[in-house]
Amino acid sequence: MKIYIYGIIDFNDNLNNSIKGLGDRYVYNIPYQDIGVVVSNLPEQVLGKIDSDYVIEHEKVLESLMEGFSVLPMRFLTVFDTKENLISMVRYYYNDFKNNLDRLYGKVELGVKVIWPGESIRENIINLYAGNSQKIRISGNSQAMDYVTDKFQEYKTDKAFEEEANSRIKDIDRFFNNFVVEKRLEKLKSQNLLLNASYLVEKEKQEDFKEAFEHLRNVPGNFKYLLSGPWPPYNFVLLSKKSHTFNNLDKTDIFDRILNTKT
């Protein structure tokens, strides 16, 4: 029997069997000082059947917790062998957890993604440069010079492309500034995925944020927009302490069971 962790909450009392988690087990709270670790017992046979449905179960638990508490979500499939090791982990990170719980209290994460016609924008830039002949002065035609010219052209194109992306992202971000406490912007995750943004928003400001999204959506053009949430603050937990391997942190065993590997 392993212990599966969903997250950390600012509460050190019982949850009274109000929430069910993975493998239909009740979720319970393990207190540590003034905070708690929300867990459930994970039977061995569940480990062999881990699939994406379980990620949904994981998220459902967090959603329920979000209603009443400040929650720091755990990454999916964080499993401990014993309660003792779990407690030593919480002890190690207590200050980090406490700081994050305080900082993130009353706030949720909202996600915004934007698709732009990256391919055609890049094409336009390439044509611009090709026509404009942004060649460096070449004295003495040589293979090396040709090589540099090509690389330079690539470089200029990439640079212009990024600058265009940055400029558009700034415009988009401006819609949300007034309602946002913190943000994480991921630019150009792929050529067409211009922006993958996570915004930390106070619970009461969610409607304002959504309204701002509607305004953004109505901007004329061929960009595509996506809004999702509210999420527990996956993208806003900051751990100051370095990663530390705790005894019996059960990653190996999980892999073993699922892959039946032999070394």
Binding site: I115, S139, A144, Y147, Y155, K224, Y225, L227
Partner: protein, 113 residues
């Protein structure tokens, strides 16, 4: 699924497509099987060499852009970069590695390439 999440978009299919594309190419199978250890190590080493090569290339281009190089310097840099790239191609060939295989997911820094 009874999650109370809103996911609002006019184009779910586009986003699914883009997120599929954007999923980082994970590093190769790290295999304890001795006959593959060599290839695994080669990949690691070559990936790092490629990282350095790309950084050098980018730095060179910045200087070309800033016009801070003489013609001879540009010529020399061109030659060096060219040789580096050809050497990398050769090494990739020796170990049977493709460009995509030398990609690294740098966590919060995104992908190497």
């Amino acid at each position: 699924m009874s999650l109370n999440k809103i996911v609002e978009t006019d184009s779910p299919a586009n986003f699914i497509e883009e997120m599929e594309k954007a999923q980082s190419i994970l590093p190769e199978k790290i295999d304890a099987n001795p006959k593959n250890v060599e290839k695994g190590l080669a990949k690691l080493v070559l990936t790092l060499v490629e990282l350095i090569r790309k950084l050098l290339e980018k730095q060179a281009m910045r200087r070309v852009d800033a016009n801070s190089l003489s013609d001879e310097e540009v010529e020399r840099i061109g030659e060096t970069l060219m040789k580096l790239e050809n050497k990398m191609k050769e090494l990739k060939g020796v170990f049977g590695l493709k460009d995509e295989e030398l990609n690294l997911n740098l966590g919060p820094l995104g992908d190497l390439m």
